[in-house]
Point group: C2
Chain length 635, copies 2
Amino acid sequence: MAFEYLTNLPLEEARARFLAALDERGFGPESETVAVADACGRITARAVYAHISAPHYLASAMDGIALHAERTFGATETTPVVLRKEDFTVVDTGDPIPEGCDAVVMVEDVIYQDDGTVRLYAPAAPWQHIRQIGEDICAGEMILASRMTVSPSAIGAMLAAGVLEVDVLRRPRVGIIPTGDEIIPPTADPKPGDIVEFNSSIFSAMLRQWDAEPVTYPIVPDRKELISAALSKALDECDAVLLNAGSSAGREDYSAQVIGELGTVLCHGVAIRPGKPAILGCRGKKAVLGVPGYPVSGILVLNELLKPLLEQWYRSAPDRGETVQATLARAVVSGLKYQEFVRVRLGKVNGKLVASPLSRGSGMVSSFMKADGMLTVPQGVEGYAAGDAVTVQLLRREDTLDNTLVAIGSHDPLLDECADLLHIADPAMFMSSTHVGSMGGLMAVRRGEAHVAGTHLLNEEDGTYNVASIRKYFPRGGVSLVECVGRTQGLMIAAGNPLGIKGLEDLPGGLRYVNRQKGSGTRILIDYLCKTRGLDTKKISGYDREEFTHTSVAAQIAGGTADAGMGIYSAAQIYGLDFLPVCMEQYDLLIPDYAMDTPMVQRLLEVLRSDAFRERLEALGGYRLENPGTVRQHF
Amino acid sequence: MAFEYLTNLPLEEARARFLAALDERGFGPESETVAVADACGRITARAVYAHISAPHYLASAMDGIALHAERTFGATETTPVVLRKEDFTVVDTGDPIPEGCDAVVMVEDVIYQDDGTVRLYAPAAPWQHIRQIGEDICAGEMILASRMTVSPSAIGAMLAAGVLEVDVLRRPRVGIIPTGDEIIPPTADPKPGDIVEFNSSIFSAMLRQWDAEPVTYPIVPDRKELISAALSKALDECDAVLLNAGSSAGREDYSAQVIGELGTVLCHGVAIRPGKPAILGCRGKKAVLGVPGYPVSGILVLNELLKPLLEQWYRSAPDRGETVQATLARAVVSGLKYQEFVRVRLGKVNGKLVASPLSRGSGMVSSFMKADGMLTVPQGVEGYAAGDAVTVQLLRREDTLDNTLVAIGSHDPLLDECADLLHIADPAMFMSSTHVGSMGGLMAVRRGEAHVAGTHLLNEEDGTYNVASIRKYFPRGGVSLVECVGRTQGLMIAAGNPLGIKGLEDLPGGLRYVNRQKGSGTRILIDYLCKTRGLDTKKISGYDREEFTHTSVAAQIAGGTADAGMGIYSAAQIYGLDFLPVCMEQYDLLIPDYAMDTPMVQRLLEVLRSDAFRERLEALGGYRLENPGTVRQHF
């Protein structure tokens, strides 16, 4: 048993070892015969030759009469040729050419006489308007080479050539075995500690995109003998098996042991992050992958290790995807020990493509959904600095980036509603929002990296919003402040207010507070409110526990891990929380001159002025709409 | 009944009229609810919001111990903190954080004592190694906007957020009704006059690619009442119906009449070629298209008129495809009356992208299969000259063009075998062959448009092959002549030689000959052979009937429309013809210096030298292989 315990094998090496071992042992390709009509998108297993010619007979290419061309020689405008009934045959397009005929004259050029004869005023050239046998395809001709994808027109060509079945590469069957005591099937109502098993659904969808056939097995508890039995069965039935979770070296991580006992562990531990504890193994010509449990790790392991194996099955050229050059918005620090994969958002603003790293947590499946690209930091590289030019692998079509409105700044659920309405109004347009707080939004606009920034920055001196900050950070102007909404800020507290909280004054009394991050408008507001009320924020328990959105603050209170937090009415509403209004503030949009005339921004302003937007905000609650979408002031 | 008879409506106008009429009458979109796990690739009908947060509880992000962080404050390397059993809880990754705890210390940093207490040498920060509720997704948050494609990670995000079902746009059902008396289902053995019905298979595959659901109805004979009944039924069951053939204005073309009686003909006759007799109609909010019978016309009508309608159903942005700039290899002449669609082969040679028009016959389904791109000649434009820069819509991925070996020249079935072996050897490489005869190949190399040209040009003065022609057309050299094969040329005649043909001398005796095109090596050979034997080619019947390949000459003889033709042994073999050998000739490859060092050409030479190539040619028969793939001479 070639068993290695949590090595740190470089990705290239691990992949090469895995592919070579499976190739040696005879992993795919296998073929199957399918009806040609069902073969679209499949890969031919061998070259396809025409059985018959198409057309398979001499056919008329026109409606008209078939005749022997020689009989028409000499016909002119002044000396027409007359043909008797027995000298021609009426034919429609596609009709066979009768014996002895070698030309067709179009019906438009035939003058019928009362006695059944016809006159022709021009000679016919031999073989005119006749489709020769094999004009399209000749019997014996190669229609499709091996390993080619069957297209709709190839289906037509094969059927025309009498080929009714075709040998194609069989889709590899890939088993997925979810394991774990806490794992439960998807539900809308899990108990604390229940871990919803959705990896198999993600993996199945990925496998189908790669032309493999997923087979998902029932969840197996963390017991070695049960895992072993499940893996053995799956290996009998599939070409490759994913053993999901238990791939690490913890108390209940049996994967490596089980794979080693049933077959061979080729490698345990790959120098990638996320995805390090991956296990690569095989039993005979079947492949086994021990896949880490966190969804992001799992997706990466499948991308980097299973996809190449499937490409090897199909003997297809590796699909490396497209890459773009982008400027990095924030520094990315990486460990020297690992090749690190960083999901990024891409924003094209004012002609410049900017990559913003997304959360790197392995549990963040949403970060994969939001990602536009993947940045790879090679092993041995410490990372990249903000402003570095980096190569990013695209996860979506590049042309959609040109039509994506980039919003960076303060969070409000209304931005998602705008994104939805914008895309409905113009399906070619998208909107991507990143929540970095009001100050972060101003800075992004200043760096030329955002089309629009949501902002609600209080001027502590006069209680006005936004104008003072914009004056300060854009002394030379070049931006517009666009009116959006007034919104109610207040204390979100548990439903029914079990602790009897009356207002901000109660916060220092031992309550568990949850705060927003520094630089956010809401943090500036609570800091200001505490200061003016003489409340010592050091005495507020949890004042340094920071969340990045109104909804995540609300989620902590609803989950019972905090008692109060400052936020907007709509967030409290979503979670059914009680809400003590504190003040009405102005939430506006900062739009730089370089973005104002883009079709996306203009469309956004239309959305803001629309009835649909007003209706959606009424449903959310806590907003005051006066003239949303109008320019308040140009700086 | 708004009925118009074979108008010539410009495409843009016809399409706009069709789309507007259906939009007005309420054609799609409709939605349906599907399980999230099955939703990959589907389009959301409305925005999707999270039901629950993910994680839905405070979870440990590590294996270790959960504790109240305050208890660890002050711990240092020299003054560790000791915690009693009741002060901490052992947790694995994913476990819920017990009441009263607000931090996790990794197992690596915990020193267990024999008495069950633990020592910590560093303080824990509040909330460290804890996944906050909603860290990934907050309940109430918009996960996906409307009209977005569901990705594998979006499936994961929805399931994590307790969303088990999702409203997606229903796939439009499109009925296909094949009509015609001569139409039969696909068969390997059709009778003369039988027209094999493969359009419905092509259309079905196209519809699936466009996310529509095809429903193919049985073939309907050319009787108006039967067509009407079939259309009425299909309109009840589908969202759109394709009535295939009978769309013109001939004797048995009932489509327009039937559509007009059941609903409304919006337009009959569109100014496109191929595809002119298309009919656009509707019944209520259901669409009807009368689609011409020739496959190429049908594919174009679906592309230009049905695809935009389906995009309207999905309210998706029109997919215009990618375009490239290319140099036109040959002139394209077009009628002023029509917008003309010309399939082209694209070849990238020496950095230059060349577009070669393919056969424009509407019956040529193979031309669609071979096409790399589509050139559009607008209505009112007479065409383009050879050498013009034209914009071509890509029908395959642009990067495959960089890896496609362009062979232009004389035809031999061995080229297809080379293409097959080349692509098997390197799945990233492709080979495209165009048969224009030996002289055509030399000219293509001279123009810098081919990597390789098959050639067998006889020097009439000394009976040698190729060298004299190359000297003449490449006086300054820059090319290599690479040895390929010797091959047997001779007379192909019907099996069993029913006419008792003995040799070339019998040709002028009233036999029906079928010839190769001027400029082909075989034509030069037969011209030469007749001249040296004193045979008058004017007396050979059919000497001016020209085919472009050996196999198409053989197909005419096998089909009984000709008695004899000059060609190679392997072509006669494929058709089971008798063969009277006349001479052995040298078939070589001309490779220009600019192409010699490309990976594709080098790989081709390896293929020529391989055993696999030798085996395949032995199976074809009639070849003599000495040192294929070696450079015979550099010029």
